[in-house]
Symmetry: C2
Subunit: 110 residues, 2 copies
Amino acid sequence: MSAKLESMRLELRRGILILAVLNALKQEQYGYSLRKSLQAVDIDIEEGTLYPLVRRLESYGLLDSRWSSEEGRKRRYYQTSPKGIETLQTLQTDWQQLNESLVKISEANK
Amino acid sequence: MSAKLESMRLELRRGILILAVLNALKQEQYGYSLRKSLQAVDIDIEEGTLYPLVRRLESYGLLDSRWSSEEGRKRRYYQTSPKGIETLQTLQTDWQQLNESLVKISEANK
């Protein structure tokens, strides 16, 4: 069961991570600082999960990116694109509705 | 994009559906009545999605089930098992934490 519980927990997390990343990247950030800002709100996500997700969102056109050199260090910066903001709003509305549904169903079945 | 947006919306929904079903089935129900009770809280889910999910949760031991005949109609009734209640509590705690994280990150990036 414990592997199945883990898979359900991951399933629950997966959709929410998209929302968290699109939110966090309203301010331009590079990978490591994005990860830190997620950790700051208690979302602990491994690089091996976060970076592929970022690339996936970029490939969907939801993130803009650029290379930048600072202190001789080349980094790729990401920021939520206008299309990403629009998507975020749709997903956030879904999220709120799902939240309300869950509260109702859990109240109804106490 | 619209297909990708749909896939992200589904991803967001998928984890939550597990929570909704485990909650709804604290009271014993058969498939159709479960679907109705989800619709009552604005979760509209097709039979082709709901019934495989129910069978999956049953195969994990999270639902108990029995056949019952009423008015000459044989129906399979489902109810969240003790293990299902335990799982529901874990997932519900995860859900609340993820919610708090999302609120924080969205406040921080207004």
